[in-house]
Symmetry: C2
Subunit: 420 residues, 2 copies
């Protein structure tokens, strides 16, 4: 059964048995490319059919057929002729990001932040609704109110009757169930099932850090990045991992629990049972506690005034602000946090070898100083080779990043829907 090499215009034949059949890379690439024609148009923004044929290695005839469909649907438009390169000038096709929209919602601090984004994951409408009653029922009812508002405004313009959700806690992505959310005290809430039954909308659910990572992949990070890690720092710490353009889920969909990585083997006890978890050292609570403790020893810091002379009222945001204003004490607190965080992030660099690490979440996105200090600490600990590939930045997506990422859960289905 030797499959002898027998090249013929980039194809291999099973020679010995004379089974005439194409094998090898090129065909597979075409396979992949065909389903991703829209991705290419989206990336290039303006392309001609001939260009698409070259990029995908599909024939011009095939591209014409595919483009016809996209024109009918309205995802692309012809915008006149381009420059000739010695022959007939090409007809330019332009991607129309506002030809369809997707809905996403993110729950945080007993609020739903909801957005409608276009095909580029750019926000076109956003609302925030307060959840009056802290219960799964209360949250879902509030969400349904928001869905009604947004669907009525974008009636007929949605890509799909669907919604993406970012929720707190451990979420089983496949069943769309919140397994446990310590922050709000919920467990075993089958969000997907409930919402699909009550609204008829196809529902996609993932947790905060995972949707955050998707938001960065689609809209935040620079073009072409396929391996990134988004770190959400708030009341907890978690990472969303993207590998080759796809979410890294794990067996239980619980991959990326960065907050419970061990930093100090015999450190403080964590509710998770471990000692010295990152989350016990760096989080909204931990940083505030550390600030109060240090302020007792040194009350000359600006922090004192920022917190209205009530040291017990200090929050992490006072610390971040004081650091921005150059306060020594605040800077030293951030330095310590960056040190701990640096150990965890250097481990991520060594283990995952990402192209980009994005700091987000309420705390992470609020301070470039923290990011800069972190990058410095990571440089001291990570291995040279993976380190050379990675860049560490602050998220630029703001507070709607969760909802944007949630809408990406829907946008991801676009290709699959428009073609195939």
């Amino acid at each position: 059964m030797l499959l002898t090499k027998y090249y013929n215009a980039d194809t291999l034949y099973l020679k010995e048995y004379n089974v005439k059949q194409r094998i090898g890379q090129p065909e597979i690439l075409k396979e992949i490319n065909r389903t991703h024609v829209l991705d290419i148009i989206k990336r290039e923004r303006v392309v001609s059919r001939a260009q698409l044929a070259r990029i995908t290695s599909l024939s011009r005839a095939t591209i014409s057929l595919l483009v016809d469909k996209l024109l009918t649907i309205g995802v692309v438009e012809e915008i006149g002729r381009g420059e000739s390169s010695g022959g007939r000038p090409p007809v330019l096709l332009k991607f129309i990001p506002d030809s369809a929209f997707a809905m996403g919602a993110h729950m945080y601090d007993s609020d739903w932040s909801m957005v409608v984004t276009n095909l580029d994951a750019v926000v076109r409408r956003s609302i925030t609704l307060h959840i009056e009653q802290n219960s799964p029922r209360g949250a879902i009812d509030t969400l349904k109110r928001g869905i009604e508002i947004l669907t009525s405004e974008f009636s007929g313009k949605m890509l799909l009757p669907a919604i993406g959700l970012g929720t707190p806690g451990l979420v089983d992505i496949h069943t769309g169930t919140i397994k446990s959310a310590v922050d709000v005290g919920w467990a075993e809430v089958p969000v997907k099932k409930i919402l699909e039954e009550e609204t008829g909308l196809k529902t996609f659910v993932a947790n905060r850090s995972k949707v955050g990572a998707l938001a960065e992949l689609w809209y935040g990070a620079r073009e072409g990045i396929k391996d990134l890690i988004y770190i959400s720092i708030g009341t907890g710490i978690a990472a969303g991992i993207i590998h080759q353009g796809k979410l890294y889920i794990g067996t239980n969909s619980s991959a990326g629990e960065l907050g419970h990585v061990t930093i100090i083997p015999d450190g403080p006890l964590c509710p998770c049972g471990n000692r010295g978890c990152l989350q016990q050292l760096v989080s909204e609570q931990a940083i505030a506690t550390r600030a109060r403790q240090l302020l007792r020893e040194n009350s000359r810091s600006r922090l004192h005034k920022l917190a209205g002379n009530h040291p017990e009222m200090i929050t992490v945001y006072h610390v971040l602000k004081a650091a921005d204003e150059g306060d020594e004490l605040a800077l030293s607190i951030l330095d310590e946090s960056a040190e701990y965080l640096g150990i965890a992030v250097a481990n991520l660099v060594n283990l995952f070898n990402p192209e980009l690490i994005v700091l987000g979440g309420p705390v992470g996105q609020s301070s470039r100083i923290l990011t800069d200090k972190l990058a410095e600490k990571v440089r001291l600990r990570a291995m040279a080779y993976p380190l050379s590939a990675v860049q560490i930045v602050t998220s630029s997506l703001g507070s709607y990043s969760g909802a944007i990422g949630a809408s990406v859960l829907v946008l991801q289905q676009a290709n699959r829907l428009i073609f195939q």
Copy 2:
């Protein structure tokens, strides 16, 4: 552009524009399944065409066509009729693992261990060749000698004119270049290029831990596992990560550098520049050094005798043997190692959420005691939810695991070659 749901025999139609086109899951599943018919036959070992049709949701007609090809090639054979379930009895198809073979080689301690495996990654022939001259040239010449021996023995029975290599150091998987191998003192060796030019064999290269992980995925671990981490413990420590049945590579193909994860933030300095790396605490060297140190304080241990009363000659293997025999000192050394390793592995569980963790490499595969102690330590540190999904075991593949995994680099191409 609302794509209204409009179910019809598991297909969706773009209603509004009346583009009659199948979309949604089922078609995509078929797509995937079609290229994986061989995988299913391999998994089931004995199946009928009708069964295959049900599993893949392809039509019986299509399955017949695909099976015909496999019969021609010889990968499956008809082995008579099965039991009737109230109708015509099925013709049973049997997977023939020895219908083709693949070659793999693994370099370790200035030896090439080489194997020829069948389609199940079961070793059918193995040889070990000593590399006389420690240089890329010397290693490749020795390898070529081995290739000649094996190809002549299996002439005409190989799946492909190809070879898989497991090498030390950091390897760029895409170009097949050893970027740097500290153990042997090499850098920038384009192994793939050299070997392809000099032998005409298509060459696939990966490092020790990555091929080890592939070996476990294909041959070692129990059926159906798609998310596993293989940890190779020897002179260094590294992890090979499999996610959804595929190697996790990273941007630089340097993912999985577990040896340089920080365990003790202010621990001993590592040549990599970091402090308290796992590799400084648990490795052949580190364990032996620790044993010598402890033996100076307590010379009653069996270890003393095992090392021929020369404490300075103690190796990690003496320690493992003494522990097997119940020696207190050796057990306490392993306990300490397991403690360090446990921190790293608990982090892996929290970050990657794997189904299985396999301990391998010269040290890792030699001791069930170490594995058991490790599992115990991990249970104390990892989060309950991901922990519930994971199992920690010792590799059962023995010293040829590297070469087996290397041959898997070739076997992975089988489907792509036989179909498509």
